[in-house]
């Protein structure tokens, strides 16, 4: 069902944990739906110098969190803003169609953490003008017809 890459990130997730006094924290998802993703960012000079996550969710949610954190670590804010869920899924050698939303969650968690950062430090981040951290990003994608 899952690629070796997904399983590898699931079994050995990178960047698990919390950051004390993080510059930005974002949480998306809903325990009711079985998935919550929480991201912590440490930002210096517009650059993400550290990132950690905690995830309650399925294998692909955990693997997506792990991969997404790896992909933005050391990158600038605008580079992180450009990370799409498709890029995360691709970096994992693909996700099953019904699991694509787990990668959406990862993209949304990063945006939520950046949004928190922008509020905390009173900065504007291009692309977050219309961002609503309370939006339910959770549109489970049924690729199969019923």
């Amino acid at each position: 069902m899952y690629s070796d890459k997904v399983m590898e990130h699931f079994m050995n997730p990178r960047n698990v944990g919390e950051i004390e006094n993080a510059d930005g924290v974002g949480q998306v998802g809903n325990a009711k739906c079985g998935d919550i993703m929480k991201m912590y960012l440490k930002i210096e000079d517009e650059t993400i110098v550290d990132v950690k996550f905690k995830t309650f969710g399925c294998g692909s949610a955990i693997a997506s969190s792990s991969m997404a954190t790896e992909m933005i670590k050391g990158k600038t804010i605008s580079e992180a803003m450009n990370l799409s869920n498709k890029a995360v899924a691709q970096a994992l050698d693909g996700l099953p169609p019904v699991k694509m939303h787990c990668s959406v969650l990862a993209e949304q968690a990063i945006k939520a953490a950046l949004y928190d950062y922008s509020k905390k430090y009173n900065k504007t981040i291009e692309g977050l003008e219309d961002f609503n951290p309370d939006d339910d990003a959770h549109d489970h994608d049924h690729a199969e017809e019923h």
Binding site: Q27, A31, G34, I36, K54, F56, C58, G59, I62
Partner: protein, 391 residues
């Protein structure tokens, strides 16, 4: 190689050697079509009629009341649609429960779209159907009560005799999905007043793709498969001979060793339950404490999600199942766990471990040991657990 521990015997079981051995001659040598009059055909006809007798004896029915099907789902579909369409002049109301297998539930939903009304009975926190609600739901339009014998997820065994009595007193047909019960429980359809009963071979060490529906003589029901005259004109299609033979051997073995099987599994089950409770905190046993299938264990592990639990166990060679919807990418977790009142987030973190005849005490020890590690690792990753620790 890592240890392999199969703990998903409620999903399906391996075929036992004695069962396969019995099936083998029917593929290449005894392949005659039972509808043929030559000896090669009569031979297979006699062979399946012997199985019919065996199955009938096990549940105290008559051989002519046993109809072979392609499995439990077909038996459920046939029983419910067959009764509904054949008795719609009498009424259009069906009563079932919220914790039925999808084979029953989705069939009832289909009927709802086609002019029938269905009452889905509540269950209590242990999964026992509400008897008062059952009695109150019966109207003069009620034609069928369909309540499963034992639940596939939480193992709860229903008060079937009581339900049978209510059905009889109200002159309503009573169907029970006994797919999980057969091979674990002594069943007497006469005593329990059962009119229709679904079985499946692959849950009791028989082959996949074969099962049976018991239909009490005199019950008014439509055929489900139209065509040839097989199964007394009620279920067309060339018979799955090797499958039926395997089913026969499997059910025979199961009932020859029933007491032994139940004693062994109950002991393993209770050890597994005890060891999990003693070694892992924030857990909840789902299902009835003792009115429960001998091999069924179902726990919720708070703060973690079922699929990641399953995947982690799989990496350690353990096969299990969960009530999480994440395994299928849908939103709602198991309807059974919701019906017994679990909140969504707890239902998502549930794990079903079902023991079978091939499991040992060492398997149980290995699973508990593995669970301790896996649950801890996943909780360390969980933002929900973080909050608990902080309190």
């Amino acid at each position: 190689m890592i240890r392999q521990v199969y703990l998903d015997n409620a999903a399906t079981t391996p075929v036992k050697k004695q069962v396969l051995d019995e099936m083998l001659p029917f593929f290449k040598e005894k392949y005659g079509n039972p509808s043929s009059i030559y000896r090669l055909g009569q031979e297979t006809r006699n062979a399946i009629d012997e199985v019919r007798e065996k199955v009938a004896n096990v549940i105290n029915a008559k051989p002519r009341e046993i109809y072979f099907t392609a499995g439990g789902s077909e038996a459920d579909n046939w029983a419910i649609k067959g009764i509904a369409f054949a008795n719609k002049d009498k009424g259009n109301h069906i009563i079932t429960s919220k914790i039925e297998h999808h084979g029953v539930l989705h069939t009832c939903e289909y009927l709802e779209k086609n002019g029938f009304e269905v009452t889905y009975l509540d269950v209590d926190e242990n999964g026992i159907v509400n008897m008062e609600q059952l009695k109150d739901s019966i109207t003069d339009k009620t034609i069928l009560i369909s309540i499963m014998f034992a639940n596939n997820e939480i193992g709860t065994i229903q008060p079937i005799e009581e339900i049978g009595k209510i059905a009889r007193d109200n002159k309503v047909y009573f169907h029970t999905d006994a797919v999980q019960a057969i091979g674990n429980i002594n069943i007497d359809v006469e005593k329990l007043n059962i009119d229709l009963l679904s079985m499946s071979a692959h849950k009791l060490y028989g082959p996949k793709g074969v099962g049976a529906l018991y239909i009490k003589q005199g019950v008014k029901i439509h055929p489900y498969m139209h065509g040839g005259a097989q199964e007394r004109n009620r279920r067309a299609g060339t018979e799955n001979i090797p499958g039926i033979i395997g089913f026969g051997k499997a059910i025979e073995l199961a009932y020859e060793t029933l007491d032994e099987h139940n004693e062994r599994l109950t002991k393993l089950r209770d050890k597994l339950i005890r060891d999990i409770k003693e070694n892992i905190e924030y857990v909840r046993l789902n299902g009835h404490p003792d009115k429960r299938l001998p091999g069924n264990v179902n726990f919720s592990f708070e703060f973690i999600e079922g699929e990641s639990l399953l995947l982690s166990l799989d990496m350690l060679g353990i096969c299990a199942s969960s009530g999480s919807a994440c395994t299928s990418g849908s939103l709602d977790p198991s309807h059974v766990l919701l019906a017994i009142g679990l909140p969504h987030e707890i239902a998502h973190g549930s794990l079903r471990l079902t023991l079978g005849d091939f499991n040992t005490e060492e398997d149980v020890d290995y699973v508990v040991e593995s669970l301790i590690k896996v649950v801890d690792r996943l909780r360390q990753m969980s933002p929900l657990y973080e909050n608990v620790k902080k309190k």
